[in-house]
């Protein structure tokens, strides 16, 4: 197999650490894991952001706010999967964690207006049917204008 470019290596390490620990790593943690200079990791973060594969924390390029479907900060979409705890960026990404990890998952979320607890679950590769709905407030052309709001 040909040697992978740095962007791909960084991307894989981000997801490897996140899947293993439930926490999205910092540039320092990725740097230590890969044994490469942190400045190179930060440059890869910028390139992955340009490709819309991650979102750095606003005001702190050393931290990752979103490595979709994973969130670097707590959200209203916690996900339990493989005995670990994650946070998803939105309801789409709550299912996305189950899809990315190829495992069962449960998200104890809540109604966006009332706060009523609403649980969504994936079991044996299929979602457990509920009549809940997701509301997409932002058109697809503008999802990355303000991804945190989207």
């Amino acid at each position: 197999m040909p040697k992978l470019d740095l962007n791909t290596q960084v991307k894989l390490v981000i997801y490897e650490i996140t899947a293993e620990t439930g926490s999205v790593p910092t540039s320092s943690e990725v740097s230590c894991k890969m044994n490469v200079d942190e400045s190179e990791v930060l440059a890869a973060f910028r390139r992955l952001h340009a490709k819309r594969l991650l979102l750095p924390e606003p005001g702190d390029p050393h931290r990752i706010r979103m490595a979709p479907p994973f969130s670097g900060v707590p959200t209203r979409f916690p996900v339990e999967a493989n005995g670990k705890h994650y946070y998803a960026n939105c309801v789409w990404d709550a299912y996305g964690i189950a899809a990315a990890l190829h495992c069962d998952a449960i998200s104890r979320a809540s109604d966006g207006h009332t706060g009523e607890p609403l649980t969504i679950e994936v079991k044996n590769g299929e979602p457990i049917w509920k009549s809940y709905v997701a509301h997409f407030a932002v058109p697809a052309a503008h999802w990355w204008d303000d991804l945190i709001f989207t």
Partner: protein, 76 residues
């Protein structure tokens, strides 16, 4: 995007936040979107779907129109 028990709570949320009511997606559609977007996300070849592929995916799930077109300028 947020999760709601029903269309009724969506409408109340939109009114409370002065946000236009936009499309709703059911959980089966949402699961299919998650699989298309993320099933290979942890692999070497993972990438964000390009615009034409996004449109094709949305269309296959019944999500059509400018709202679902990442190249649409209707919303600018």
């Amino acid at each position: 995007m947020l999760l709601f028990r029903s269309e009724e709570t969506v409408n109340r949320w939109c009114a409370a936040h002065n946000v236009p009511r936009r499309p709703l997606v059911n959980l089966e559609q949402l699961w299919q979107l998650a699989v298309r977007w993320y099933a290979n996300r942890l692999s070497v070849e993972s990438r964000r779907p390009p615009p034409d592929e996004m449109v094709s995916t949305f269309k296959s799930l019944g999500l059509t129109g400018p709202f679902w077109d990442p190249k649409s300028d209707q919303w600018r």
